[in-house]
């Protein structure tokens, strides 16, 4: 699904670098643009700098070089709170508040934004249905009473609560057993088409990247090697990309042997 022209640029990285105070360079010279409604996958191994790149978008970190723009404005010019409220954030460990029920967790941002109580209640119900949880059953449960997959779903519902135009997801389907993982992923894939959000997903899973990505950015040792359309990626000659593809081939070969 190639959109021509690509529409409005929502997230832009211009020669972005990030260095720790200790002097260690985590990211150098990153350039990319995510257009409205697209999903960019940042694919790479642990420690490659994917999460750092994600945190530069909602200003959990400030770039030490170059400029990150959200909605045409440099992140440094944004009020960090306002910026983050317009961006849904989903992390691997979900970060659900253990002392809040599912309903309280999901309604957190609408409450901070002072929505009327009636609207918050109907929004929470609506969102739980969207992520495939029965509101009657789950509203009053605490995170420790949920399975891993259910927690991920609540985390997603919480991130979507105030209907932010942008969604950042850091290994959103990580730490789930393989079957649950593919279920949650497939459901998200359907959701993705309906929601029309601008999304950046960090993952090290090649099948996730090919399924969910409008484009796939390959991150290696703090650099963005290249950005591919999923079809291009399948024929990429870059060694790291080929290493990822080899994983898929193992799968195919195993299937063929049976």
């Amino acid at each position: 699904m190639i959109r021509e022209p690509e529409g409005k640029p929502i997230i832009e990285f211009h020669r972005v670098g990030y260095r720790l105070p200790s002097g260690q360079t985590l990211l150098k010279n990153i350039n990319f643009t995510v257009f409205q409604g697209q999903t960019l996958i940042l694919l790479g191994r642990s420690g490659a700098g994917k999460t750092t790149a994600l945190k530069l978008i909602n200003r959990l970190l400030d770039p030490t070089g170059g400029e990150v723009r959200v909605d045409g404005r440099a992140t440094l010019e944004w009020d960090p709170i306002a910026l983050r409220r317009s961006i849904g954030y989903v992390i691997q460990d979900t970060g659900l508040f253990p002392h809040y029920t599912v309903a309280q967790n999901v309604s957190l941002i609408p409450k901070l934004e002072r929505w009327p109580a009636e609207r918050i209640r109907s929004r929470v119900d609506e969102l739980l249905v969207v992520v495939g949880l029965d509101p009657e059953k789950f509203l009053l449960r605490y995170p420790h009473e949920l399975s891993g997959g259910q927690r991920k779903r609540v985390g997603l519902a919480r991130a979507l609560a105030a209907d932010p135009p942008i969604l950042l997801m850091d290994e959103p389907f990580g730490a789930l057993d393989p079957l649950t993982r593919s279920d949650v992923r497939r459901e998200f894939h359907e959701l993705q088409r309906r929601l029309e959000k601008t999304i950046v997903i960090v993952t090290h899973d090649i099948s996730e990247a090919l399924l969910l990505g409008t484009r796939i950015g390959l991150v290696e040792a703090g650099e963005l090697k290249d950005i591919y359309w999923p079809k291009e990626f399948l024929n990429a000659k870059e060694p790291v990309a080929m290493a990822y593809l080899a994983q898929l081939q193992v799968l195919q070969e195993a299937q063929e042997e049976k």
Binding site: R85, I91, D93, T94, G95, H99, L108, I109
Partner: protein, 211 residues
């Protein structure tokens, strides 16, 4: 049975002294909490403050209590009244457990929870009051419990500077070599300490976040 008779006979004075004792400990704890919890938050937030604050509280803990009451007597305003001296000294002792537990409670909040809170656009103040403090409440209460039990014991010594309370019986008993008098102070003090320990333990359990 002589002891029981003695207690019955002295019950008005014992009750009076117990109430004085509770008042002394209660006011002390209010001050200690009002000062200790914010200090604990600062210690958790800024590591360069943690050494001087915890170090200072540690040193205070090592001063013998009778000496500390003595040191504070010449301090202007404070030294004018016995209960001021006592409350200041007792609060100083109660600080360390409260500061330490508040700081460690906040430190032990799951980093993922904190990151999610920041990432969603909560302000530092909202994170503190809606996430960090509620999640560390049971640890803070545990610190308050330790401090309260400690204070109930040390508060008997404050009678030496004339604050009243259960220490009165103990000092009088010591002076008159009268065990019954000593016990009239010691037993209610022990009961108070046990009761405070029990109540605050129950509160702590109730507030402990489920995992």
């Amino acid at each position: 049975m002589k002891l029981a008779e003695f207690f019955l006979q002295q019950r008005d004075q014992i009750l009076q002294a117990t109430l004085e004792h509770i008042w002394l400990v209660g006011v002390t704890m209010l001050f200690a909490i009002a000062i200790g919890v914010p200090m604990g938050i600062i210690v958790a937030r800024r590591s360069w403050f943690s050494k001087p604050i915890l170090g200072g509280a540690n040193v205070a803990e090592t001063i013998p209590s009778l000496a500390l009451f003595g040191f504070l007597l010449p301090v202007p305003w404070l030294g004018n009244r016995a209960d001021r001296v006592a409350i200041a000294a007792l609060a100083l002792y109660a600080l360390l457990p409260i500061i330490r537990n508040t700081a460690s409670g906040i430190d032990s909040v799951d980093p993922a929870v904190r990151e999610a809170a920041r990432g969603m656009g909560m302000t530092a103040r909202q994170i503190l009051f809606q996430v960090e403090l509620p999640l560390s409440l049971s640890t803070v209460i545990a610190g308050i419990r330790v401090a309260t039990v400690l204070t109930i014991g040390i508060a008997t010594i404050a009678a030496a500077v004339g604050t009243g309370g259960l220490g009165e019986f103990i000092f009088r008993g010591l002076a008159m070599v009268n065990n019954q008098l000593i016990l009239a102070g010691a037993i209610p003090a022990a009961v108070l300490a046990l009761a405070a320990d029990l109540l605050l333990t129950l509160l702590e359990r109730r507030l402990r976040p489920a995992r």
